[in-house]
């Protein structure tokens, strides 16, 4: 089954959120696979987390569907999990059709039909698996049956630009969704031998019709910049998705007032702004060098989903060691409510906890009074990704 969610009947033509999610870990024709070996594997191996990652993305959409900008109308899911992933997450078994070329083409065709039913639709595309470049500006996505020896090298592969270009508003699809979100979670490394085959063609997902004016809001988030690798935590999920979920769940949260109410949301612009910080944090922890890039365009920002409230921010408060015994800390929110009272000595120091994003008055108070130190009371904006404060209590 590919169409795992279908609410079109209930929505009756109203704008909806249409997702196509694909994750490939098991490549039968690559080393370690159960099928006949590919004529050339180009150094690629089985993957252990990309199908799991795609599944997590599907679960996230289902969980957050009430907070999406429009109702979740359809979700097409293609998964080619490894045996290890199925052991970790038994729900993967039989949940979705495998991500072969035929299945992908059918799913994409139907997804585009749905997408073009209303201009206010929102589309969501997520692919996790092996990716290869033919040249630096071009991303090829390898499907499950890559390397089966049938057709050319890239017969069982598709190309992101072809997908993207085929989703433009055109004469035959005048009501194409004008908000489109693309996430490509694959390596963009260029095997040196592929440089010799720059003209190798992928399978076209569709014929591209040159459209008229193209003013979609259609950012594409690529997990790795051209020529670099995308990393994954074996048996868990990809770096990119880990950072992406952190951002979606509040790390890229932004706030604005609407109809007198404060609304917290994550949009593609806030995602673009903050995703790099979270990826960098993973890089530091794992000594990796993953980056991401965002292509595509959009005159206005587009909300991906609404948050339930202000995101919680990792907050670190620190007192200089020599002043530990003298300093107590009070943290007040913008409504003048005391949220933290931390007696002296601050323990642990630094003190770590989470604060809801907002403006706070943080006071380092000297109690009992001590001529060696002075009070430090200041206002701060506490925003994701983390907030760090150090008391300035010593006289200069």
């Amino acid at each position: 089954m590919t169409l795992v969610i279908d609410e079109r009947g209930r929505l009756q033509g109203q704008p909806g959120f249409h997702a196509l999610i694909a994750g490939v870990s098991a490549y039968p024709h690559l080393p370690g696979g159960i099928g006949a070996s590919a004529p050339d594997s180009y150094g690629m191996q089985q993957l252990s987390s990309t199908a799991l990652t795609a599944h997590k993305m599907y679960c996230w959409l289902v969980e957050r569907q009430s907070k999406l900008p429009v109702p979740l109308a359809t979700c097409r899911l293609l998964l080619s999990p490894s045996p290890e992933e199925v052991q970790i997450e038994p729900n993967l078994n039989g949940l979705a059709d495998p991500c072969t070329l035929d299945k992908f083409l059918v799913a994409a065709k139907d997804w585009r039909i749905d997408a073009s039913s209303h201009k206010d639709n929102v589309t969501f595309f997520y692919f996790a698996g092996h990716g290869v470049q033919r040249s630096r500006g071009d991303q090829v996505l390898l499907l499950e049956d890559f390397g089966d020896g049938i057709g050319g090298t890239f017969t069982k592969a598709v190309n992101t630009k072809n997908i993207y270009n085929g989703m433009v508003n055109s004469t035959s699809r005048p009501n194409m969704a004008q908000t489109q979100l693309y996430f490509v979670d694959a390596c963009r490394i260029l095997p040196s031998r592929f440089k010799d085959f720059e003209r190798m063609e992928t399978t076209s997902v569709w014929d591209v019709e040159l459209g008229g004016r193209d003013d979609r809001r259609a950012p594409i988030f690529y997990a790795a910049v051209p020529g670099s690798k995308a990393y994954a935590l074996r048996g868990d999920q990809t770096f990119f998705s880990k950072a992406l979920f952190e951002c979606l769940n509040g790390g890229a949260g932004e706030s604005r007032e609407e109809d007198g109410q404060q609304r917290w949301y994550v949009s593609y612009r806030t995602l673009s702004e903050r995703l790099g910080d979270y990826i960098q944090e993973l890089n530091q922890a794992k000594e990796a060098d993953q980056e991401f890039t965002v292509d595509g365009f959009g005159e206005e920002d587009a909300i991906i989903h609404l948050l339930d409230g202000p995101p919680l921010v990792d907050s670190i408060l620190e007192v200089p060691l020599d002043a530990l015994a003298a300093v107590k800390i009070e943290v007040w929110n913008y409504r003048n409510e005391l949220v933290w009272r931390l007696p002296a000595p601050l323990n642990p120091n630094p003190y770590r906890d989470k604060l809801p994003a907002g403006m706070y008055r943080i006071g380092a108070l000297i109690d009992p009074s001590n001529p060696l130190y002075k009070e430090d009371i200041r206002l701060f904006e506490v925003m994701p990704r983390c907030f760090s404060w150090k008391a300035r209590v010593t006289h200069e």
Binding site: N165, G211, D214, G358
Partner: protein, 422 residues
């Protein structure tokens, strides 16, 4: 309502004169205004947070009380933890930021801590060895650790040559072991090449014209190899370029939608600044703001016949408007001007040519498709070696007209060029 003004307090006049995008928030952090630091905003009385996020990732924040009928000023000062170590480094520290590992440096080394996060910069500059350390010193002349060469001409067409003179490049003191800045003079230097032993040569198309120069920045990476970058002469355009590079679209939008980069000034007045205008145009294309592009992309293309990006900007603009036949005609003119200065331009050309070839004779004449194929193949030879992380077209190859990963060997003296100041 009252006016809130903004004042940044950097150490350098260069940074203080920059018009930076500012965000103003209420205590619950809901955004109430986005503006530039030169443009005050009208606010109701209350307490507000004011933030400037810089392209290199640092954030300046402050809170301000606005009272009825009284003008207020929010002062934004870098915290000590994120401040630039030296005044002369501020542009590099806050705008350019430390660049990533050189793509051509294949020697495996530990990677640096995150340079682009909110955390304080991890870069240390000007680290000097202790005196009398007892280390051996080499007798006789030392081999240069790196060299710079300039090229003039049309790289794309293969009609180019290395510049014999070094007048186009002037070292700007003080510099340090990790960080050197050079002034590139206005003139005919189209491309700079960085040569280092045993790693592929790095070429960067220069954002210069007959009237405008730029700053070339060499930064030593943790793996001890240098990387190349450049600051545009136009400060706002330079800042905008870096915001786009880092994905800070909201900040880029604030600059683009203001009058900080007005086409009227950049294109039509006596001191014309086409490179800054090109940056403004790329920003509008990236942000999808086709309305504001008007027809001045055509003027950019026509007024500056030497500017390759005039072609790619106009071509992409027409394509977005659905004028694909005209767009292809424009793109086919690219070889006469050469490689685009900006990576966006090269990407647009590659993507549109591939698309039009794919669409084929359903929409285009065979002869033009053949020309498109030839041009695409020519561009793909470069694209295979371009680092698209960089905003300026940067690619590997000892011979700029024939990009490759080949290394120059240990001895780079025979290539000539300027030795990098140590």
């Amino acid at each position: 309502m009252s006016k809130l003004h903004f004042e940044s307090q950097f150490a350098s006049s260069e940074l203080n004169s920059l018009d930076l995008p500012v965000e103003v928030r209420k205590p619950d952090l809901s955004i109430v205004a986005r503006s530039l630091s030169s443009q005050p905003v009208e606010l109701a009385p209350g307490t507000y947070c004011v933030t400037v996020k810089l392209p290199a990732g640092q954030q300046l924040s402050g809170t301000v009380q606005v009272e009825e009928g009284k003008e207020a000023t929010a002062t934004l000062t870098p915290e000590p933890e994120v401040a630039s170590p030296h005044e002369w480094q501020e542009v590099q520290h806050y705008i350019l930021g430390p660049s990533g590992p050189s793509p051509q440096a294949s020697k495996p080394v530990p990677l640096p801590p995150g340079p682009e996060s909110h955390l304080p910069s991890f870069w240390s500059f000007g680290v000097e060895a202790a005196e009398g350390s007892g280390e051996l010193e080499s007798l006789g002349p030392e081999r240069a650790s790196a060299k710079l060469r300039g090229f003039r001409g049309n790289i794309l067409l293969g009609a180019y040559e290395v510049k014999d003179d070094q007048d186009w490049l002037t070292f700007m003191p003080p510099g340090s072991a990790e960080f050197n800045v050079y002034a590139v003079s206005p003139g005919d230097t189209k491309l700079v090449q960085l040569l280092q032993p045993e790693v592929p040569a790095l070429n960067m198309v220069l954002p210069v014209s007959r009237e405008q120069g730029c700053q070339l920045v060499l930064m030593r990476q943790p793996n001890r190899f240098y990387s190349l970058d450049a600051n545009l002469e136009h400060g706002v355009a330079n800042t905008l370029l870096r915001y786009l590079q880092r994905g800070l679209l909201e900040q880029a939008n604030t600059i683009s939608s203001s009058n900080a980069l007005p086409a009227e000034q950049l294109l039509y007045q006596k001191k014309r600044e086409p490179i800054a205008a090109a940056v403004g145009a790329y920003a509008l294309l990236r942000l999808g703001d086709l309305e504001r592009l008007h027809d001045w992309t055509e003027n950019l293309r026509n007024y500056f016949q030497w500017l390759p990006d005039g072609i790619t900007i106009r071509g992409e603009h027409l394509a977005r408007l659905g004028e694909h036949d005209q767009a292809l005609t424009i793109f086919l003119d690219l070889p006469s001007r050469g490689l685009p200065i900006f990576s966006d331009g090269l990407s647009y050309a590659l993507d549109r040519l591939r698309l039009y070839i794919r669409v084929g004779e359903r929409s285009f004449e065979r002869a033009r498709l053949s020309q498109a194929q030839t041009l695409l193949e020519r561009l793909q030879r470069f694209a295979a070696f371009v680092d698209f992380r960089r905003p300026l077209v940067t690619f590997a190859g000892i011979d700029p007209g024939n990009p490759s990963d080949a290394t120059p060997g240990e001895d780079i003296e025979s290539y000539g060029g300027l030795d990098i100041a140590q």
